[in-house]
């Protein structure tokens, strides 16, 4: 099936993965506007992103000299420890010899090349190619490369079976009214019902989605009800940076006296952690499920349920799965970049207001 919906880009996924690897500077060998929005966000998260700003002339005559020059400039401006050079559609079509340019720049000890462009399939391909390049460069071992690759392929599977790549075209929707959803949750707590909250978030977005879990727990302290907390907050899996996110969130929850009843996996294991979470909840008694982050990775359960996503195009498929409410954290990405603590979410804010806490 040819899917018409615009979807995430392998080049951008490569940039994000470089950030996960704690690369200091990403050099995108392509036009200045390529991946612009992502580049800006990633800079807020501490990684420098520069481009070789390729022009029409560069397409005709090649731009390896320009790349060498940019690499030298990067060295001079930022004195980075680690540089990732990322391909783009144009530089890869014209056959730029990036490896040679890196050698010629004299920076081959600290710079490595991710051979990727926009036409190489799902966004996860960009992440996989980056991990492979990082492995060849000696940043991660083969075991970690294999583990993450497996997760990424499963993530692509989730999107095509249950997410926005499920149908030919998926509309972006704003989701349900936050106030209505918050009122519904508070009503359940006041009725002394049991709510299972499953945080199944992808990496840094957990800083935001954990806030919904936090808000429900705070509301329960005031209004009653019982909470089962499940989260993919393992600090023993994945890259150091990703483990740090989990630790930050755990610290905050601990400070607020909230315990996670079950750790469903690591923060890059969202494609399988959702299944683990539901497996854990199988023989537990609860009245409402609130799934936040990547709810589409959870198996369908035939219970009253609410989903919170950050993808407007995930709303429709989640509704089809039978969720009573689906809410969208529309500003999610920009708020979590550069964060080291849980950040206020839109649904979390609405829950606090409905509960009368601040």
């Amino acid at each position: 099936m040819n899917i018409l919906t615009p979807r995430p880009n392998p080049i951008v996924a490569a940039l994000y993965t470089l950030r996960d690897l704690d690369v200091d500077v990403a050099v995108l060998h392509g036009p200045s506007g390529c991946g612009f929005r992502a580049a800006r966000l990633l800079e807020e998260d501490g990684m420098k992103v520069v481009t070789t700003s390729m022009t029409e002339e560069d397409l005709i005559f090649g731009a390896s000299d320009k790349l060498i020059e940019v690499l030298k400039e990067v060295e001079e401006l930022f004195s980075p420890k680690l540089i990732g050079v990322v391909g783009s559609c144009v530089s890869m079509i014209i056959g730029e010899n990036v490896k040679k340019a890196i050698n010629d720049s004299g920076l081959k000890e600290k710079a490595f090349f991710v051979e990727i462009h926009g036409c190489m399939g799902a966004n996860t391909r960009g992440a996989i190619e980056t991990l492979k390049a990082a492995m060849d460069f000696g940043l991660i071992d083969e075991k970690e490369y294999q583990r993450q690759t497996k997760m990424l392929l499963l993530a692509t599977e989730v999107e095509s079976n249950k997410g926005m790549a499920k149908s030919k075209y998926t509309r972006p929707l704003r989701g349900d009214e936050l106030r209505e959803v918050a009122d519904y949750i508070i009503k359940k707590l006041k009725e002394d019902k049991k709510i299972a909250v499953v945080l199944n978030a992808k990496k840094e977005t957990a800083y935001l989605f954990a806030d919904i879990l936090l808000a429900i727990n705070l509301a329960s302290k005031k209004h009653g009800g019982q909470i089962i907390n499940v989260g993919n907050l393992s600090t023993d899996v994945g890259l150091l940076r990703i483990r740090r996110y989990a630790q930050d969130i755990k610290n905050n929850l601990e400070k607020n006296g909230i315990t996670i009843d079950h750790i469903s996996g690591g923060m890059d294991e969202y494609p399988v952690a959702g299944k683990n979470a539901i497996e854990y909840l199988k023989d537990k008694d609860f009245d409402l499920l609130v799934a936040v982050g990547i709810p589409q990775a959870l198996p369908v359960i035939y219970k009253d349920s609410i989903a919170a996503t950050n993808g407007p195009r995930e709303v429709e498929p989640l509704k089809e799965e039978g969720y009573r409410y689906v809410t969208v954290e529309i500003a999610s990405h920009s708020t979590v970049m550069g964060s080291r603590d849980i950040v206020l979410s839109e649904l979390g804010d609405a829950i606090r207001k409905a509960a009368g806490i601040q």
Partner: protein, 263 residues
């Protein structure tokens, strides 16, 4: 394992030379792979009685990327690959070469135990993709096929410029003679000017032409012809060559001066 690429002016006889070298090396017991990089996909036809094999890019389009399915065994056990590419006037053949070469990689070659790999490259290095076979991890050295004629040597010099820019080593020049006066001397003089060497030269010979009409190499059509010894000798020189280095291209004026002095 040695990987070499054959470059030279369009129509100068790169494919004829490559296929006859491959078949004779195979008859000496070497495991040989011939990779045709021309989108016209006709480098290997002499191993299949003039028939074309399925190309890497056609198979790739149909989701077939297993290297075992991209390689075909031709006459005398020579393994053959055609990169293929778009029809004339559409798409991007250069990108095609890069994708095909990535699909067939060095790890695979080593696993299969090839002794020598030939890349038969189209006449002109018109874009980055056509330089793909000359990159790190592919051909270790380049051979240029040329006659003693001005345009052929001029084209060879352009290729030498490319090799110089890309910092790629050149193994030497293989002459494919047209029968002009002092031809070997001309090629030899040129090869020395660019700090390379003349490996050997093949005389103009109708048997090559007659074999190709039937889609054959000389070894298949005329197994006992002494021409085969010539190709065996060149093959051996290539296998044993340890004098490859980055060429120093010269100027058009210098080429005219050499050729003019040997009329």
């Amino acid at each position: 394992m040695k990987q070499i690429a054959i470059y030279g002016k369009g129509g100068i006889g790169k494919s004829s030379i490559s296929s006859n070298l491959c078949v004779n090396l195979a008859s000496e017991g070497y495991e040989v792979l011939l990779v045709g990089c021309d989108p016209k996909s006709d480098s290997t036809i002499n191993f299949f009685n003039g028939k074309r094999i399925d190309t890497v890019l056609d198979l790739y389009k149909n989701g077939i990327t297993d290297p075992d399915k991209l390689i075909f065994e031709g006459y005398n056990g020579v393994k053959c690959v055609e990169v293929g590419g778009p029809a004339a006037g559409v798409g991007c053949a250069g990108r095609g070469i890069l994708v095909a070469l990535k699909t067939l990689n060095k790890d695979y070659y080593l696993e299969k135990g090839f002794d020598i790999i030939f890349y038969d490259v189209p006449g002109d290095v018109v874009c980055g993709g056509f330089a793909g076979p000359a990159r790190e991890g592919y051909a270790d050295e380049i051979y240029i096929v040329t006659s003693g004629e001005y345009l052929s040597i001029y084209a060879a010099n352009n290729i030498a410029k490319g090799l110089f820019n890309l910092n790629v080593k050149m193994g030497g020049i293989i002459g494919n003679l047209r029968g002009i006066p002092n031809e070997i001397e001309k090629i030899k003089a040129y090869s020395e000017i660019i700090d390379s060497q003349l490996i050997s030269a093949v005389e103009r010979n109708l048997k090559i032409h007659e074999s190709e009409i039937e889609g054959k190499t000389v070894l298949e059509k005329y197994p006992d012809d002494p021409l085969n010894y010539k190709f065996k000798d060149i093959g051996k020189k290539i296998i044993e060559n340890n004098k490859s280095r980055v060429p120093k291209p010269t100027t058009d004026e210098k080429i005219r001066e050499i050729l003019g002095g040997l009329i």
